[in-house]
Amino acid sequence: MGSYNWEAAAARIGLSEIDFKRMVEIFIRETEADLKKLQHACDLADREETALTAHHIKGAALNMEFDQLAQAAKSLENEARQGKLESAARFRAIIDAELAEIRNSLFLKYPSK
């Protein structure tokens, strides 16, 4: 989505802005929790858990059409399934960066809690 047009995104799905904002907040919260799990899995070199968690992130990102975040998660999942974790930190960083952008964009659009 790049710089996010939240009104258009809400209209596309057919939800009110408030409802769509709530969904993005849920997405951010869940992905932050998944990133922590990912960190833990990578620290333990647990490829199975890394792949499963990346898969989880990817699914939610696809639902919300956060394509770049989904792509990074997919790449991480692929690597982990092939038994490699060398690029895990890089993909995690991309996911983190994309998430930060989503978070910041949402806050800019809807500054009050």
């Binding site: 596309r12 799905i13 057919g14 939800l15 409802d19 709530r22 969904m23 849920i26 997405f27 919260r29 869940e30 799990k37 792949a51 499963l52 898969h55 989880h56 699914g59 939610a60 696809l62 639902n63 919300m64 059409e65 997919k74 999942e77 692929n78 399934r81």
Partner: protein, 507 residues
């Protein structure tokens, strides 16, 4: 509430999907409830009767397919429209029809899913619409995800392993609710999967077993128990060894392994019993011979004295009394020798059915409050046996049955021919042969486990002092063994007793 309002349940472990569907469907004038997994869904369904249920296929604590099967077996949800939400629809042909779902929507961009969700909403409301075309909606919006295919292959591999092993495997949550049971566990518990899942594991047991299982689960949770600590308990008359290990992952809970040790315990009991009886038998045989010799000495001297006097002699009656008591003692010794003996005295070819008929007549005359039912095989093979000893066996069994029914009752007698292969499940090792089987069942007071394990022991009796010698069943055991046969007993307190006797048939 509007009567046309559709009632919906959404079951998915991702809060995003729950939020989206709740908002979307509420906007379509639906009443919506949500659940995060299959276990929670079953709890909701105990109080809520939805028209449509959206179910995520892959989720913890009872997955989507299992949940569908459980729901479909409940009559109250026969008409409920079940819709699968699948993130793996591309990689695997989800045969949602086979587990009772009516439609399947592939997970993907929400804007695409929305269209399919609204379509199934209309279909569910239209009672005349044809359900279950088998096509997965939204597949065209997705791309093949190869890696998920590999994940699924691994999952399927473990499913095959769990389905194949003979031990029961049950997974429980940290509050003891069952969320998975493999086919072996379902078979051991003898209840359906839909009753088993979501139930409290401790409720499979009664009384003391339940308390001990509960205590074990607490110890495992507190990590005060080492992994794989086990206890023995009973489910459906099967004796099980139960081991519990904590789940070593993010989610709390435990894995329970159930091993059926009924046959192992029976075999061990049988061995102990046999060893005990053989050592008692050796001792008894030795003593019996010595006593018999002494009795013969008393008998012969008494007989000689009686021969030298007339009936009006002052000591005549006393000597006659001694003679009678010697005869009673000899009879008792004979029973004990019967238990200890290994051979048969005078054998002949005989038919058990005929002997049963004669023996039962005697019983019927003495106990009119007992009804005897007979189911005797017309083509029963003959046996080669000592008629007197087999008659003694029959009388012992009938007398014991009668004693177990002081207020009257029923005795069932059955004979049949059996092959050694049909006796394979028995505790004793059976020689390859054809056998005749005699079953004697009463509707009496039955026996507890401790009594059952000892009834063939010499001198063991449940009767009060002076009323039983404890040799009847011991000699029965010895006679049957001496004829190359087998005897076993089944009994439950309050439920009667069954003896099964197997004797080699004549070729």
């Amino acid at each position: 509430m509007n009567n046309n309002m559709q009632k919906v349940l959404v079951v998915d472990n991702h809060p995003l999907i729950l939020e989206f569907l709740a908002k979307l469907l509420t906007g379509e004038n639906c009443q919506v409830k949500t659940a995060e997994n299959g276990l929670e869904a079953l709890d909701v369904l105990s109080q809520y009767h939805p028209d449509i249920i959206f179910i995520d296929l892959i989720m913890p604590n009872i997955d989507g397919e299992t949940l569908c099967r459980i729901i479909r077996r409940k009559p109250q949800f026969e008409k409920t429209y079940l819709v699968i939400l699948s993130a793996i629809a591309v990689e695997t042909k989800v045969n949602f029809i086979s587990f009772g779902a009516d439609a399947c929507i592939a997970k993907g961009p929400l804007v695409k899913m929305k269209k399919h969700i609204l379509d199934v909403l209309s279909e569910a409301a239209d009672m005349t619409s044809k359900k279950g075309s088998g096509n997965i909606r939204g597949l065209e919006d997705l791309y093949v995800r190869e890696i998920t295919g590999e994940l699924l292959s691994i999952k399927r591999h473990f499913e095959v392993v769990l389905e194949s092993i003979t031990e029961g495997i049950i997974e429980i949550t940290d509050n003891n609710r069952i969320i998975f049971a493999n086919p072996a566990a379902i078979s051991l518990c003898s209840i359906s999967e839909e009753e088993l899942l979501a139930s409290d594991f401790r409720e499979l047991f009664n009384g003391g077993d339940r308390r001990r299982i509960g205590a074990l689960l607490e110890r495992v949770k507190d990590h005060s128990s080492s992994a794989n600590e086990g206890v023995e308990a009973v489910i459906n008359d099967r004796e099980l060894e139960i081991r519990v290990s904590p789940v070593n992952s993010g989610k709390k809970g435990a894995i329970v392994i159930l091993v059926d040790i009924t046959d192992r315990n029976r075999w061990q009991t049988h061995l102990r019993q046999r060893e005990r009886m053989e050592s008692v038998g050796t001792l008894a045989a030795g003593m019996a011979h010595d006593f018999n010799n002494l009795l013969m000495g008393i008998k012969s001297n008494t007989s000689l004295l009686l021969m030298e006097m007339t009936s009006d002699h002052p000591h005549y009656e006393r000597l006659r009394s001694i003679e009678k008591q010697v005869a009673s003692s000899a009879s008792l010794i004979k029973q004990l020798l019967g238990y200890a003996r290994q051979g048969r005295d005078e054998v002949e070819i005989m038919n058990l059915n005929r002997l049963i008929g004669e023996t039962v007549d005697v019983m019927a005359r003495t106990r009119r409050d007992i009804t005897i039912h007979m189911e005797l095989a017309a083509d029963l093979k003959d046996i080669v046996a000592d008629v007197g000893q087999i008659e003694q066996v029959l009388l012992n069994l009938l007398i014991n049955a009668g004693d177990a029914m002081p207020q009257g009752g029923d005795i069932f007698l059955k004979t049949a021919g059996v092959d050694h292969l049909e006796m394979r499940s028995k505790v004793f090792k059976v020689k390859a042969d054809a056998y005749i089987m005699l079953i004697v069942t009463d509707t009496g007071i039955g026996m507890d486990k401790k009594t059952r394990e000892r009834i063939f022991e010499p001198f063991f009796t449940t009767k009060e002092m002076g009323r039983g010698t404890g040799l009847g069943l011991a000699s029965t055991y010895g006679i049957i063994k001496g004829h190359g046969g087998y005897i076993e007993v089944e009994s439950k307190q309050g439920k009667g007793t069954t003896f099964r006797i197997y004797l080699p048939a004549k070729e």
